[in-house]
């Protein structure tokens, strides 16, 4: 069926915890594709099913129930992709992060140069990077060998040396891989895929070392010269090998891979399953390009948290993605606690809670990862943990989303007082225009104001930033759909997926004692003029609906920055959303919560009340006010 005749599309995302299905249909009336239904079910990689397709059948079955139509084959043996009219759908696509995702080890000569480039290539392809082996990583060769064996990656990406550069060090890395004689996690007897994307002059020697013991593939150097990365070929090959070698071994995937596709001129055309993070990244990149803005996106899942960003480097937009492999809200929830520390989690809980009880609750969520909070108290605790998972994921992202390290810089006498290093982070929260949240805890928060506050507390946006949320968590679906039917993906993304929460205005900078940080003068949509002061330590909420704009002049005090530099006036339009405008006077650099327990709880309660994040009864939890 030609793309322009596709009427009904089914897309699923098999997450580590939940399988989400969406039904997209072309509406003659609206003249565009629109989201028709959504279903979800627990992912079924665990016993008794141990087959990912069961969760898919269940999630699609929910849509069938709600629509009173059939989308599964009569014997429920798969999704029914029709050739002509009748029951079923015209196109079925899927993404997946179940099965632990793609786990890779990467290798490069210098850790902060080719090692980091290899890491970016792997992350960009949707992988979890378990280890970076480098000539200068301070481990002895036998320790590197042991680590490769112990971690049992699904795939290894070997890079190193610019074209025409070192050969010795690259061959040394190949020797280490050869000595480790790595075996894949799944499928005894299979050879481990190893991609070589390093110095082209070393390719022959690498082939000699590894050719017989691993499934060696050679692509173009991912860092042909110091000043430039060429990640595309390695990234594409990782996708390809992921499908062939890794996903095909996970429970039930062999079947699911056969289900996805459509008929084109009577012939079945398969659409490959895409790793979830790869699909989300495609969408974020598209948004940044279409709107010509700086964008960050975060997708917090059960096992991992992915952060995506598009910021400028040397005047060019650069896309970066990081995956925090062990920061998530179910499978990895205990690791959030272990990484952040109990005090950091508890600081976000707006009532008193016993530490031992909190530990047990978190651990019980980890061992039963598909359960959801039924009670308000449990929801609030999960949202506190989410703040820390998001904060830690951002820290990791800032560390990796950097300019290329080791690049020669031309300095003039004017730079003498500003010795910026190469490889500084590209993430600048003051330059950020749009922050998009996605993933269960953000997309399914009962009140959108909860999402807004979680994003603000964890990412601490500075200046004027639009906050948005993936309405029902469908960015992965639309990411893979954009590959086969861009129009349908764009229609649904713009109209049904992205929900603007509203602008957040957060003054940044240091001040000693001030009655206010900035004055915001606004001409509201009804023509009225409103003036608000942003008070230190306070949050304010101004009602401004979705699509509504206010002309604003923001005048900061000396030393405070809103976006145009310390003390400089900001003029522009503030846009509302389903939450409204948020004026955040809690400070940045530093942002600190009160240290005293009683005062901290009081402040959290006050901020929550300002944004109306929870029903009033939360004030009586944990022994009351």
């Amino acid at each position: 069926m030609a793309a322009d005749k596709i009427q009904t599309i089914l897309a699923t995302d098999c997450g580590s915890t939940t399988t989400k299905s969406i039904l997209i249909e072309y509406s003659e009336e609206a003249g565009r594709y629109r989201l028709a239904r959504r279903g979800e079910a627990p992912t079924t990689v665990e016993a008794p099913a141990e087959d990912v397709t069961k969760g898919v059948l269940n999630a699609v079955g929910e849509i069938e129930d709600l629509e009173s139509r059939r989308f599964l084959k009569p014997d429920e043996s798969g999704v029914h992709v029709r050739e002509g009219s009748g029951d079923g759908v015209d196109l079925y696509v899927s993404t997946s992060s179940a099965g632990g995702g793609l786990q890779m080890t990467v290798a490069g000569v210098v850790k902060s140069m080719t090692g980091e480039s290899a890491q970016r290539a792997a992350l960009g392809a949707g992988a979890i990077v378990m280890d970076i082996v480098a000539s200068n990583d301070r481990r002895l060769p036998h320790e590197k060998v042991e680590d490769i064996r112990r971690l049992r990656p699904d795939m290894i990406l070997l890079s190193g040396g610019i074209d025409g550069g070192t050969i010795d060090h690259v061959v040394e890395l190949a020797e280490i891989i050869r000595a480790a004689d790595p075996k894949p996690r799944f499928g005894v007897g299979f050879k481990l895929p190893v991609i070589y994307a390093g110095n082209k002059d070393a390719a022959g020697a690498v082939k000699k070392e590894l050719g017989t013991i691993v499934e060696l593939k050679i692509v173009d150097n991912l860092r042909p010269v110091l000043e430039r990365e060429n990640l595309g070929p390695a990234r594409d090959l990782i996708h390809e090998l992921f499908m062939e070698h890794v996903m095909a071994q996970a429970p039930g995937y062999a079947h699911l891979m056969e289900w996805t596709g459509r008929f084109e001129d009577g012939k079945w055309k398969n659409v490959p399953i895409m790793p979830t993070p790869g699909a989300v990244g495609k969408l974020i990149e598209r948004v940044a390009k279409m709107e010509d803005i700086h964008v960050m996106g975060v997708d917090i899942g059960g096992a991992t948290t992915d952060v995506f960003s598009v910021f400028d480097s040397s005047g060019e937009p650069v896309f970066n993605r990081t995956v925090s492999a062990n920061l998530g809200m179910s499978y990895s929830i205990s690791n959030v606690l272990a990484s952040a520390g109990m005090d950091n989690v508890m600081r976000w809980v707006p009532f008193h809670v016993d530490e031992a009880d909190l530990r047990n609750r978190i651990r019980n969520k980890m061992i039963r990862p598909t359960t959801i909070p039924q009670e308000l108290e449990e929801l609030i605790i999960e949202q506190a943990i989410a703040r820390e998972a998001l904060r830690l994921a951002l820290v990791q992202h800032k560390d990796l989303a950097t300019g290329l390290k080791g690049v020669a810089q031309e300095r003039t006498i004017g730079d003498a007082f500003e010795q910026t290093q190469t490889g500084a982070t590209l993430v600048n929260m003051m330059d950020l225009n749009l922050l998009i949240g996605s993933g269960g805890v953000l997309s399914h928060a009962p009140r959108r104001s909860q999402t807004a506050l979680m994003l603000i507390d964890s990412f601490l946006p500075e200046g004027v930033t639009m906050l948005a949320v993936d309405s029902i968590f469908m960015m992965p679906h639309l990411g893979v759909l954009s590959e086969v039917h861009p129009q349908a993906a764009v229609d649904v993304f713009n109209n049904d997926c992205l929900i603007k929460l509203g602008h957040c205005v957060a003054p940044s900078g240091s001040f000693k004692k001030a009655a206010h940080l900035a004055t915001v003068s606004m001409v509201m949509p009804d023509g009225k003029t409103v003036e608000e002061k942003i008070i230190p330590g306070e949050m304010k909420h101004i009602v401004l609906g979705a699509g509504e704009k206010a002309k604003a002049v923001i005048t900061p005090i000396k030393g405070i920055d809103i976006g145009n530099g310390p003390g400089e006036v900001w003029e522009g339009e503030l846009e509302g959303g389903v939450v409204g405008l948020v004026l955040d006077g809690r400070g940045r650099h530093p942002f600190n919560l009160p240290e005293g327990d009683a005062e901290r709880v009081k402040m959290l309660q006050t901020w929550s009340q300002v944004l109306d994040t929870y029903p009033e009864r939360f004030l009586t939890m944990g022994g009351g006010k």
Partner: protein
């Protein structure tokens, strides 16, 4: 849709359970299809490549890597003893001040690289054997990889465990599922046994069990703070089974004080005195793995009951157990499966079911918060 799939742990009075015993690398299978094996029977063996020692001969002799081959005293692939000369420089006039590089390990001289000057020596292979784990019958041989052993058994899955495979006689130490395993219950005759407890065991009592030589403890709950104290670190990701604690601990319910499910407690109590194989290995990630208690049945122990496993199909009338607050541990039957999303206490709009508890009261709970009980 007439049913919903939902995750659930297996608690089966009688079941045929097949355990795959697979080598980490290809090797030799020692038994045949149809053989009856004991838990202790070695069913397959292999040799893991030995650890490697890498060192740079060129640097040690101070000559270019390309000159090394003619200085080597051993050929690639040849066995070598510890301290045996591996290469020797030509010295002055071919006679004096010769430098010798000796092998730091016994093993094989695996390779030398003329580009880097690096030599790779490998220690002797490490033998690995796998046993049958359970008493049963070999139903399939995976050539060069291992076997599948099937056993007719009582099978119980726990929710979380630590420690690996152990065997022992089942011994009940609590009279009720809501009773705590206290220190006085750990007596000298518990040595080598698998203890079946009630709702809780503390770290102090578990330490006493380790000191007594208890092989495993199966209990309802344990505190997370105690887990941290036991392991010596905060467990981040739940991949366990390799701990060397001197005991295997299996939790049937979760963290905190949690009454063991009555069905689980009764079933394990019924099997008291029998030998069980248990494994605490838990992997709550890809290819989820839960800890287990396998009690191979003798002829006398077999009841005529059979387990009717339903692959997670839930329908009206299905028996379920709530696995999250506020009804954690309560058992009931599914009274309704409304397709529409409904709002719960947290204000979240979720897919729910209506459960009728034994006291006749009906409540609405998220479908995600229940597990099926096999019947």
């Amino acid at each position: 849709m007439a049913f919903a799939y939902t995750p659930g742990l297996r608690v089966a009075d009688v079941a045929d359970v097949a355990k795959t015993r697979r080598l980490p690398l290809k090797g030799e299978v020692l038994v045949n299809t149809g053989d009856v094996v004991k838990a202790e029977t070695i069913v397959a063996r292999t040799e893991l490549p030995g650890n490697v020692k890498m060192f740079n001969i060129a640097n040690m002799l101070g000559v270019p890597p390309s000159d090394i081959p003619e200085l080597l005293l051993k050929k690639e692939g040849e066995p070598i003893d510890a301290q045996e000369p591996l290469a020797q420089s030509k010295g002055l006039f071919g006679k004096y001040f010769k430098s010798t590089v000796k092998s730091p390990i016994a093993g094989v001289f695996e390779s030398f690289n003329e580009i880097t000057g690096q030599a790779v020596l490998r220690e002797p292979p490490i033998p690995v054997e796998i046993d049958g784990y359970v008493n049963g019958k070999v139903i399939e041989v995976l050539p060069g990889e291992g076997v599948v052993v099937e056993t007719h058994c009582t099978f119980v899955q726990g929710i979380f465990g630590i420690g690996g495979e152990v065997r022992g006689e089942l011994k009940r130490v609590c009279s009720k599922p809501d009773e705590e395993i206290t220190a006085d219950k750990i007596t000298p005759d518990c040595k080598g046994k698998i203890l079946i407890g009630g709702n809780y065991i503390s770290h102090a009592v578990l330490k006493k069990a380790i000191a007594t030589g208890v092989h495993a403890v199966v209990v309802g709950g344990f505190d997370d703070q105690d887990l941290k104290n036991l392991l010596g670190f905060d467990l981040g990701v739940a991949i366990t089974g390799h701990e060397k604690l001197g005991i295997t601990l299996i939790l049937t319910e979760g963290f905190g004080k949690m009454t063991m499910a009555e069905g689980t407690f009764d079933l394990l109590s019924k099997r008291e005195g029998m030998t069980a194989s248990v494994n605490g290995a838990t992997q709550i990630r890809a290819g989820v793995m839960r800890p287990e208690i396998v009690v191979p049945l003798t002829e006398e122990a077999m009841s005529d009951q059979t387990s009717t496993r339903q692959a997670g199909a839930m329908d009206i009338g299905s028996s379920i157990r709530c696995i999250r607050s506020p009804f954690f541990g309560m058992i009931g039957t599914v009274a309704a499966l409304p397709p529409e999303l409904q709002v719960v206490d947290s204000e979240a709009k979720v897919r729910v079911l209506q459960v009728e508890f034994d006291n006749g009261k009906k409540y609405t709970v998220p479908r995600a918060n229940v597990e099926l009980i096999e019947g």
